[in-house]
């Protein structure tokens, strides 16, 4: 099996075009970040195969995603949330971890059982986080129950994951698969790897005794609402064979992205929250925990319904995340469901968005 890398995969007309456009868009942003501070850190609750945990989520500033420097994903604005120049030293990374621990001390009564580390890139890419830092971070959180680290599939290896499993941590690799449909991932998202790379990564993880948490993206650009829902239903089911948890997240409109350009010109609408509910309800029988965390729900730039029912539907989604009981969706209804149903029946990519 081939080992894909951003360099090799930046080929083909479509990807060249996407990358060039994304580079131009990103060039408009000129903001830099302090390498001693994490990009973000917050406390939350998460559903895992062992039940619901308090979680500490860390977005490390590691110099950013190398794929994004080539151009990167059409909806992703996180690339800009990286330090200039690109590399962050071991000391700086450890400073960032300390800031996160302090944040937890100040805001939580007890230690979080679950630690989630994202980097806007790949935590397992040693050009972002060196082996020394990875091992130190594994040790720092060795007394917790679970850890989730984010990575592109190419960087997942049994050996790296053993740094965590050897601490006795239940370990998951979070992979931004976005969709199980290679065509959509490549042409709409502009991600370079294939579903089979995801499968290979899951095998590496399995060998290390780690699990996979797959991240899916609902409604990348160029898809109509019904196409997006169909893509997610199919993707959740295919992922469930390799991942114990699937996080299916509706696209939101981030600044300095291709999605933002389309949105600005009237060519993109984030998905309906009804669509999120539809997918969760439909795939409730899939053999995985399926969750969704709609960011910016109810706003123009985030997943939204009519404005009246957004909070209610978001609440139902959150409830489903924790309890995995689809009957919660029977308890929410709104007049705008008829509009959404019509959109599901009638919207084509050449008439989208039918409504804002």
């Amino acid at each position: 099996m081939s080992k894909p890398s951003p360099e090799v995969y930046e080929q083909g007309r479509g990807m060249d075009a996407h990358n060039k456009v994304m580079r131009d868009i990103r060039a408009k942003k000129d903001k830099t970040y302090d390498p001693h501070e994490p990009t973000r850190v917050w406390l939350d609750e998460d559903n895992t195969p062992d039940g619901v945990y308090q979680s500490l989520t860390i977005i490390l500033n590691t110099g950013g995603c190398r794929w994004a420097r080539a151009g990167g994903c059409t909806m992703c604005g996180y690339v800009s949330e990286s330090v200039e120049g690109g590399s962050v030293t071991h000391e700086q990374l450890m400073d960032q971890i300390q800031v996160c621990l302090d944040h937890e001390d100040e805001n939580a009564d007890e230690q979080s059982g679950l630690i989630k580390i994202y980097t806007s890139g790949s935590f397992l890419d040693e050009r972002e986080v060196g082996a020394e830092s990875r091992q130190a971070i594994a040790e720092t959180f060795g007394d917790r129950d679970r850890i989730v680290v984010e990575s592109l599939p190419d960087f997942v290896s049994e050996e790296k994951l053993e740094d965590f499993t050897s601490q006795g941590l239940k370990t998951d690799v979070a992979i931004g698969l976005e969709t199980a449909t290679d065509r959509v991932r490549k042409d709409c998202v502009n991600k370079y790897f294939a579903f089979e790379d995801f499968i290979a990564a899951s095998e590496e993880a399995d060998a290390a005794g780690a699990g996979i948490k797959a991240y899916l993206l609902m409604k990348p650009p160029f898809l109509s609402e019904p196409e997006a829902v169909e893509d997610m239903k199919r993707s959740v089911r295919r992922c469930a064979e390799y991942a114990h948890t699937v996080s299916m997240n509706p696209c939101n409109v981030q600044r300095y992205t291709m999605v933002d350009d389309l949105f600005f010109r009237g060519g993109y609408r984030p998905p309906w929250l009804w669509s999120v509910a539809e997918v969760l309800e439909d795939t409730a029988d899939a053999d995985a925990i399926v969750v969704s965390d709609p960011v910016g729900h109810g706003s123009e730039r985030g997943p939204h319904n009519c404005g009246e029912c957004d909070d209610l539907v978001q609440k139902a989604i959150k409830d489903f995340d924790l309890r995995q009981d689809p009957s919660v969706f029977e308890q929410v209804s709104c007049e705008c469901e008829a509009t959404w149903e019509f959109v599901m029946d009638e919207e084509a990519s050449f008439s989208a968005p039918l409504t804002r």
């Binding site: 075009a17 389309l262 600005f264 010109r265 993109y268 919207e347 050449f350 989208a352």
Partner: protein
């Protein structure tokens, strides 16, 4: 190659067409029930469907929504397969290209509908890139409020998707507004959906009503196109939404696009009822031709008179009075808003006898400026021994004085209070005392030649015929031109005020230095109509209604253009010209 769409008639950029499905559909129309989507290639690999002639098949496509970067369009552009059934290609307005299909959907319509300038740019760019005889389809954007303007700009197909969505969202649509359903105590419509009592009227009913309203509006629009009167309607209806008014004004600024598509003659009324009428192609074209093509051949003084509501002017009571006072001693030119000036020889020429304007006696500054400009240019081109202004106060006098000042001329004014008072008529009569009368022959020759100038180009009247070569017969307004042996060369058509040639006349026209418009045809002798596929080449400046020479290896003919020159060369269907006379070679 267009096999399943044919343009039947035109009114500016708007047209009546026929989707030649197994059950034909007259366009502009709702496409909902006549379209089958083979699906998007963004989400899945797709097979080219079997297809059949009962529906328009949207071929597997990659839609580029509004805001898609050029590089992305370029690299993901779909090569549409050739099919033998009715098909539609999906293209972006600025990336439109001939895909060999019968219709085209513009994938970025959501981005430009609602924005006048972007709308104008998108439609013009797409129309200029796509074959003329294919249908333009905008999906998911039409409402009863905007559809007349969409069609006016050149759209042939729309659907009811947006109208229904808006209904489900609680918006009640009419041709004059978008209402919040909850604000309506009474439904301003009597369509079947609106028979439901108000308190039982749901959003689903509202969606149904919106679709009905859109269907009704499309029927109105079709009627208007057939009558050649869509523009009159637009000037009123588009007023109900600012962007629509802005849209047709933007199109008015694109003279080339609209002019190419506007017939040179019509036998229908032209209502000049708004301040926008001045910018219509028909009005601008008349003013332009009168000031750049027409030339006065009379040696007599000029009498400027106000227009009359009755058309042609000479049939009005007031003009009969002026005529009695002038008695062929002066050249009469009518001043009018919004046409400008109308020399007596052109009083029948479209749109001079076809327009009707709103007369209150109050002139807007726009009207005054326009008429003054036309009169000024007219007088710069045509010299007169004297200019007598038999015009009332109000706007007319003001305009005359402006032109006098600008040109450093002196007009003689003969009106006291009103132009038809005994005193005014007496003044006019006395002013012309001692002036010589022109003859009937002079009058008839000058009329024929003036029309030729107007119709064919500067100098055409003189280039066509020396006075000694012709004679005129029959009575005005059905004058006939004959050669000295009595053979007919041309006739004046009273409904439009233009000339039509006989075969002999047409041959003479071709040999003369007068500009001609030519349609080159294939190896056949046309009888009745020349169809577009038979056209090998056609002059680009041919307009619908133009007198044209039709020639090919097998035939020489003369007739009238039924489409523009560019359309003739691009089209694979439709009637290009109607043949009046033909001679086989």
């Amino acid at each position: 190659m267009t096999d399943y769409f044919e343009v039947l008639s035109r009114d500016g950029a708007a047209r009546i067409g026929e989707l030649r499905l197994s059950s034909p559909v007259t366009t502009p129309a709702l496409a909902d029930d006549h379209v089958e989507d083979a699906g998007s290639l963004w989400s899945e690999e797709r097979e080219v469907p079997e297809g059949d002639d009962s529906v328009l098949t949207v071929l597997p496509h990659r839609a580029f929504p509004a805001g898609t970067a050029d590089e992305v369009k370029e690299s993901f552009r779909v090569d549409y397969p050739e099919t033998d059934y009715p098909s539609v290609a999906v293209v972006a307005s600025d990336d439109a290209h001939d895909a060999g299909t019968d219709a085209y959907i513009l994938s970025d319509a959501q981005g430009f509908v609602g924005h006048a300038s972007a709308f104008k740019d998108a439609i013009i760019e797409a129309k200029e890139s796509l074959p003329a005889d294919t249908a333009l389809y905008l999906s998911g954007v039409a409402t009863s409020l905007n559809v007349a303007t969409l069609v006016y700009a050149g759209v042939d197909l729309v659907d009811a998707k947006l109208a229904k969505v808006k209904g489900l969202e609680g918006m009640y649509l009419t041709s004059e507004n978008e209402y919040f359903l909850e604000d309506l105590d009474e439904l301003p419509c009597s369509c079947p959906a609106c028979q439901t009592p108000r308190e039982e009227f749901t959003r689903r009913d509202c969606a149904e009503h919106n679709a009905n309203a859109l269907r009704t509006e499309l029927a109105v629009v079709r009627r208007r196109i057939r009558d050649g009167r869509l523009r009159d309607y637009i000037e009123g209806q588009a007023r109900h939404d600012q962007w629509l008014t802005a849209a047709f004004r933007e199109l008015d600024q694109q003279y080339g696009y609209v002019e190419e598509r506007t017939p040179v003659i019509r036998d229908s009324e032209l209502a000049a009822a708004t301040s926008d009428s001045i910018r219509r192609v028909e009005i601008q074209r008349f003013a332009e031709r009168v000031t750049t093509r027409y030339q006065n051949r009379f040696k007599n003084p000029l009498v400027l008179v106000p227009c009359s509501a009755k058309k042609p002017y000479s049939e009005s009571q007031s003009h009969a009075q002026y005529h009695d006072a002038i008695q062929f001693r002066a050249h009469t030119v009518s001043m009018t808003s919004p046409i400008g000036v109308v020399p007596q020889e052109l009083e029948l020429t479209y749109p001079a006898q076809h327009y009707d304007s709103v007369v209150t006696g109050e002139w807007s500054e726009d009207e005054k400026r326009f008429v003054a400009e036309v009169l000024k240019r007219y007088l710069q081109r045509n010299e007169y021994p004297r200019v007598i202004a038999h015009v009332p106060e109000d706007g007319y006098r003001d305009i005359c004085e402006r032109v006098e000042a600008e040109l450093g001329m002196e007009f003689e004014y003969t009106v006291d209070e009103h132009p038809t008072t005994t005193e005014s008529i007496g003044n006019l009569m006395r002013t012309l005392e001692g002036e010589l009368k022109f003859t009937k022959r002079e009058r008839e020759y000058n009329t024929i030649k003036a029309i030729a100038d107007y119709q064919f180009g500067d100098g055409a009247g003189d280039a066509l015929w020396e006075d000694s070569e012709i004679q005129t017969t029959s009575r005005y307004p059905k004058l006939q031109v004959r050669d000295t042996e009595g053979e007919q060369l041309a006739a004046m058509v009273p409904q439009y005020g233009v000339l039509s040639f006989t075969l002999k006349g047409a041959k003479h026209w071709v040999e003369s230095d007068a500009p001609t418009k030519r349609v080159e045809i294939d190896n056949f002798a046309p009888h009745g109509s020349v169809l577009a596929p038979g056209v090998v080449d056609a002059d680009a400046d041919i307009r619908t209604g133009d007198e044209v020479v039709i020639e090919g290896p097998k035939a020489f003919a003369v007739g009238r253009a039924e489409m523009s020159g560019p359309e003739m060369t691009e089209s694979t269907r439709g009637v290009a010209a109607e043949v009046r006379h033909v001679e086989e070679k």
